[in-house]
């Protein structure tokens, strides 16, 4: 009896171990399945079935913040890899000139400006999307560009100069896909008609320019103050030290 009990405990320990392993594996499998279904299949689905897709995107809250951020990070990573690994034919940049912070800024800043500009315009013209929706949409819109960049880096390494067109075609399709995604997304999220959406797109661009202008103005002003302070500092150090 006792012996049997020991046996059972041993078995259960073994079972427990295996069940944990099974759990972990299934969790990992689940995670990859999630990535596959939500991260790759879903945006592709939206691209080909935009209206059904965006219905799920917004109404059924299928868009995930975690994935949105993943897209942004992925895009930044790919931009840096593009600098490093793209073939010499399409990429003659000097690796010493790679500035990771700048690469991050080149992605984050336009994205943020676009989100803020679109939000500020659409709130005025009764768009139905919230800030979160717009952010999710803009990040998800990076997906076609991410795919294009991924294949672009690969292709750029095996082409010769005559075949550069292929590379540009891939990148062009990516950019077009992203713009298309964003545009249709705006239509779905804000519940606009086509004409109104075009109008809003124009306004968004104008708003983005205004925001950039204000920021530059501020920056310039600040630079002047800084240089003034620096001059005073130099004057003092040169005079008294």
């Amino acid at each position: 009896m006792e012996n049997r009990e020991v046996m059972t405990t041993e078995v259960s320990k073994k079972e427990k171990f295996f069940s944990i392993v099974k759990l972990v594996i299934s969790e990992i499998a689940q995670f990859f399945k999630f990535l596959w279904n939500e991260g790759i299949k879903f945006p592709t689905y939206i691209l080909f079935q935009p209206f059904k897709g965006f219905d799920e995107f917004k109404r059924y809250k299928r868009a995930k913040m975690s994935l949105a951020i993943t897209y942004i990070v992925l895009y930044i990573l790919l931009s840096i890899m593009d600098f490093h690994y793209s073939g010499f034919i399409v990429n003659q940049r000097d690796i010493t000139e790679l500035n990771t912070l700048a690469e991050i800024a080149y992605v984050i800043v336009p994205l943020a400006v676009l989100v803020v500009a679109n939000w500020s315009v659409t709130t005025l013209f009764d768009g139905k999307g919230t800030m979160k929706d717009i952010f999710l949409l803009t990040s998800y819109a990076l997906f076609p560009m991410i795919v294009a960049k991924f294949f672009g880096i690969f292709v750029s390494n095996i082409i010769v100069e005559k075949e550069v067109g292929l590379y540009h075609l891939i990148m062009g399709i990516g950019t077009f896909g992203s713009v298309y995604f964003l545009f249709v997304g705006w239509m779905a999220i804000h519940e606009y008609g086509l004409l109104k959406c075009v109008l809003m797109a124009v306004f968004t661009l104008v708003a983005a320019i205004v925001i950039l202008f204000a920021v530059l103005l501020l920056f310039d002003l600040y630079r002047k103050i800084f240089s003034f302070a620096y001059t005073v500092y130099r004057e003092i150090t040169l005079r008294y030290f």
Binding site: F88, I89, Q92, D94, V160, R223
Partner: protein, 596 residues
């Protein structure tokens, strides 16, 4: 409080990244428009500065050498003897030097004493060397028609003059025709006084007989003087400097209403003349052996952009008048190489009021009049690529491009242009690669301040500076000597020898990117594709890299064709099989597998 602290520290971080734009100035540019400071091409040699104050030029009257306008080096095709001509546009003197820039000793004793004439009075002066102040015109070679057109002196009423008389008429002019030239008295010799001469050139042309037919194998040695003030070109005998032909204002209908003010000129091997005329914007004037106007070549076209056209539609007459006129630029200088290509320099074309297009400032015009300059370098051959915004361009508005005043070509396709804006010499090879930049403007004697001509003398470059009234001899530095050698080998197609020289260049200056291309070309020739690719990468040369990579790729595929084929067929089979399986209905699969 904490927030303010954060804000301040963020501001400080931002401030530390404020860019400080520095003025750019360097010796050559790399692929990314950055200046490489370590490569000096040519440097003014210590004893190579010739001015009126230096000992070398003792014989030259300082008051008659005030605005040197052109310098030409003539190399005799048979003897190889070099003669250097310099002309002065104020005194209208022609100075003749030997190859070391010493005044040439006149072969004829009588010609060493030059009588020259200024504002009506005759002054005698004695000079050691050959300084020609006026040109004898003989009735033997001049027809009445030509005689009527000839202009002389500063005042138009004056026709030809002799030592004793002014204003010779046709009868007096032809009177000494019966006397042989040698035994003519001084009072029987007539002279032309040129005015504002601005160009000098000397070349051989085929000799023609009385009827104008070319005499096979006979050549005539001619010295050309652009007599700008008198609107004519004087063709002289280079031995005793008498006039053999005068090219006057063309009578062609195409040229009607324009003034012929020849600035610079060259001729080709058949004796055709190519003339730059002041304020003629149509192009370079091509004139026949006999001085008839034929056509314009190498036209500098200006086009308006769509945006400009759009705005000009809305501008009023007044506004259009206020905008500076958009006209074609005129040519500034020209030179011809042995194969008959004419190299020209002109100003950047003004595209609109605020921008200009500098890409066609240098042209290589082929015999049929088209620009064939090869521009395969990292950048267009436009002189300075990077500019400092402070200082230099502030006075002349937005205009930023270099302003070329002269061009010189050497034996292996290398050409050097001189920039009067910053006093620099830009040397390019025949493919349009910038080899090196030399010289600078400034207060020193070896600085270039207002260059009017640049010529190659062997490997050296002579620059004529109007401001310093000097000729400066630039000699190649050690690295430039190697570069020249490499370019020469490359020009002659000796890639292996060129690669050896390029390796020497790299050991002198590893930042000299062009050298890697040269090495790569040789490696590519030896089918060492991967090494070639590495070198082309260092030289930032995509098309050759692509070429090397393509051959490398083809070779790899050829070598590994079996495995590629097996892989490809396998992949295709799998795809087909999967497709076949997908076609089978689900229940059939279950049946096949045996599951119920």
């Amino acid at each position: 409080m904490k927030k303010i602290f954060y804000f301040l520290s963020a501001l400080l971080l931002l401030g530390s990244t404020v860019l400080i734009v520095e003025a750019k100035g360097g010796y050559t540019y790399d692929h990314a428009k950055k200046a490489i400071h370590s490569t000096v091409g040519m440097s003014a040699s210590k004893d190579g500065i010739y001015t009126i104050t230096s000992n070398a030029w003792e014989g030259i009257p300082a008051d008659q050498f005030t605005s040197p306008e052109d310098l030409f080096i003539f190399k005799h095709p048979v003897t190889g003897e070099e003669t250097i001509y310099i002309i002065d546009s104020t005194s209208n003197y022609l100075y003749v030097f030997d190859s070391t820039l010493k005044l040439k000793q006149g072969s004829d004793e009588s010609r060493r004493t030059r009588r020259y004439r200024l504002k009506g009075e005759t002054v005698d002066r004695f000079y050691e060397g050959e300084i020609i102040t006026r040109y004898e015109i003989r009735p033997d070679t001049i027809t009445q028609d030509e005689y009527e057109k000839v202009k002389t002196g500063t005042d138009t009423g004056n026709k030809l003059f002799s030592n004793t008389t002014d204003g010779v008429d046709w009868l007096t002019f032809t009177a000494p025709l019966q006397t042989p030239v040698e035994s003519r008295a001084d009072s029987q010799r007539w002279y032309i006084q040129p005015k504002n001469i601005s160009g000098v050139y000397r070349a051989l042309r085929p000799l023609r007989d009385e009827g104008g037919f070319i005499i096979e194998g006979e050549y005539q040695d001619v010295l050309y003087i652009c007599d700008k003030g008198n609107n004519q070109i004087l063709l002289l005998d280079p031995v005793d400097y008498h006039i053999i032909q005068v090219v006057s204002q063309p009578t062609s209908i195409v040229f009607e209403g324009k003034t012929f003010s020849p600035l610079k000129m060259v001729t080709d091997s058949t004796g055709r003349m190519f003339v730059i005329s002041e304020s003629v914007y149509e192009g370079i004037m091509q004139m026949s052996y006999f001085g008839e106007f034929m056509s314009y070549i190498g036209v500098n076209y200006t086009t308006l952009t769509a945006w400009d056209k759009f705005w000009r539609n809305f501008s009023t007459e007044e506004q259009l008048k206020k905008q500076s006129a958009i006209v074609n630029t005129e040519f500034r200088n020209l030179a011809i190489d042995d194969s008959g290509f004419i190299y020209t320099v002109s100003r950047a074309i003004k595209v609109s009021t605020y921008s200009e297009d500098p890409n066609n400032m240098i042209k290589k015009i082929n015999p049929s009049g088209k620009d064939t300059l090869v521009k395969n370098g990292y950048h267009m051959p436009i002189g300075d690529i990077a500019f400092s915004l402070a200082g230099s361009s502030a006075s002349d508005g937005i205009s930023i491009s270099s302003r070329f005043a002269g061009i010189a070509i050497n034996d292996y396709g290398v050409y050097t242009v001189v920039d009067e804006k910053k006093g620099r010499l830009f040397t390019y090879d025949d493919e349009g690669n910038l080899l090196y930049i030399s010289g600078n403007s400034g207060p020193e004697l070896n600085n270039i301040n207002s260059p009017t001509a640049v010529r190659y003398q062997g490997e050296d470059i002579l620059v004529l500076d109007k401001y310093n009234k000097a000729v400066i001899r630039f000699e190649p530095t050690d690295i430039a000597r190697i570069i020249n050698k490499a370019v020469e080998y490359q020009y002659n197609g000796q890639l292996a020898e060129a690669a050896e020289e390029w390796k020497n260049v790299v050991s002198e200056n590893p930042n000299y990117e062009l050298a890697y291309i040269g090495i790569g070309k040789s490696l590519l020739n030896e089918n060492r594709y991967q090494d070639a690719m590495a070198n082309f990468r260092l030289g930032f040369e995509t098309s050759y890299y692509s070429n090397a990579y393509q051959r490398y790729r083809d070779r790899e595929i050829k070598l590994n064709f079996t495995s590629f084929a097996v892989l490809a067929i396998g992949a295709a089979l799998i795809l087909v099989a999967r497709g076949k399986i997908a076609e089978i209905p689900r229940k059939d699969i279950k049946r096949i597998v045996g599951e119920d």
